[in-house]
Amino acid sequence: MAKKLICTLNVDAIYNAVKSETYISGKTELQANAANSAKVYNEQAGDDAYHEEKLKRTLRHSLGKLMAFMVDFVDSAVDTPMTDTLNAISTTNRNFAVTFMVNTRFNGGLAGTIASLMQEYLIENMISLWWAAVADRKNDVTLYTQMAVDTLNMIRKCLSKKAPVTTSATDEAAGSISDESST
């Protein structure tokens, strides 16, 4: 019987992580050249309306990629597309949950780790897509894309099976050897 793995993520935490990363990058660039204020302004993600639209779109896209990666574990009993969970986000409820079916030998102690890795993947992929829109940031695109791939590999590793349950001596197949040469 399969287990149900539920990962709950916060949309504001994801958006603000992307904003913070690009903000820090912009600040360091500005320190190097103060005349770059207009360029840096446009590199720092949010809060212009079209920046926010891009962030929303890339979150949806990144979540779609994540679900495709996890396709073998998607709960077949749920007919609603997973990305529709984003539509349920309101001003008061900023969390969204994704559910997967995992095997009985899944290590439940890794549930929180997988949730953290999923959030990191979404952030890294979003930053990669953000830098893709900036003219001279191709190196950052490569870096964050590789980081996202690494994170996916870590998620895959967490989904490995535990060792089989240890069986007791009485469950072992019974057998005996008799010495017939003595007869």
Binding site: K4, L5, I6, K19, G26, S37, A38, Y41, S116
Partner: protein, 208 residues
């Protein structure tokens, strides 16, 4: 959500005229070297000083009287008679001030159009910023007073520079520099984003 601020134009116009009246006073200082020490600041000039001080350039408070003294020492007329107190702006100059003032704002609108929208309402400019992190944000900084002040000083400097360049170009240079500096300040202020708000919520996972 966009941020906004409001700037009253009549206030800017009065400040521009005060700047010009100071220049007029310098030009009509006829007493020569020996009397430069009697020059004292009028209330207009004190207002201008306050204007600069509020803009953060407190060092000008120290420099300004010195500049006045130097200029007063240089200006002489043939008779040695002081006319500075009788000089006032004419109606023509008053209109010119307004024309250049509008030109200054048009220039600024073009420079900042990427992220700022100017709307003229009943003699005041309502300025709207596309960036909701322009002021506020994580550190709750309020750039509104600085922007309003830099905006005002830019328009004043631009206007005075334009008027002076017609009959006293050597004095316009200082205001040209003010225009450049204020524009740099405005661009730096406008193209600023505050740190994003810290709303980190740790992700959670459960297995049933």
């Amino acid at each position: 959500m966009a941020k906004s601020t409001t700037i009253t134009l009549s206030d800017i116009k009065n400040k521009a005229k005060k700047h010009l009246s100071i220049i007029g006073r310098r030009f009509n200082r006829k007493d020569g070297d020996k009397n430069y020490q009697i020059i004292t600041l009028t209330s207009n000039e004190i207002d201008v000083l306050d204007d600069y001080i509020n803009g953060g350039a407190a060092y000008l408070k120290m420099l300004f009287p010195e500049q006045l003294s130097i200029i007063g020492r240089r200006v002489k007329d043939n008779t040695g008679k002081s006319l500075y107190s009788s000089i006032q702006l004419t109606t023509n100059e008053d209109n010119i001030v307004e024309t250049y003032m509008n030109g200054a704002i048009d220039f600024l609108v073009g420079q900042l159009a990427d992220v700022v929208t100017f709307t003229l309402i009943n003699g005041s400019y309502n300025v709207t910023f596309a960036n909701s992190r322009w002021t506020g944000g994580e550190n709750k900084a309020d750039f509104t007073p600085s922007f309003n002040d830099a905006f005002t000083r830019f328009v004043v400097a631009y206007t005075v520079s334009q008027v002076l360049s017609m009959y006293a170009p050597e004095y316009a240079k200082k205001y040209d520099a003010d225009v450049t500096n204020c524009l740099v300040s405005l661009k730096q202020l406008v193209f600023t984003k505050q740190p994003p708000e810290n709303t980190y919520t740790a992700p959670s996972g459960s297995c049933e």
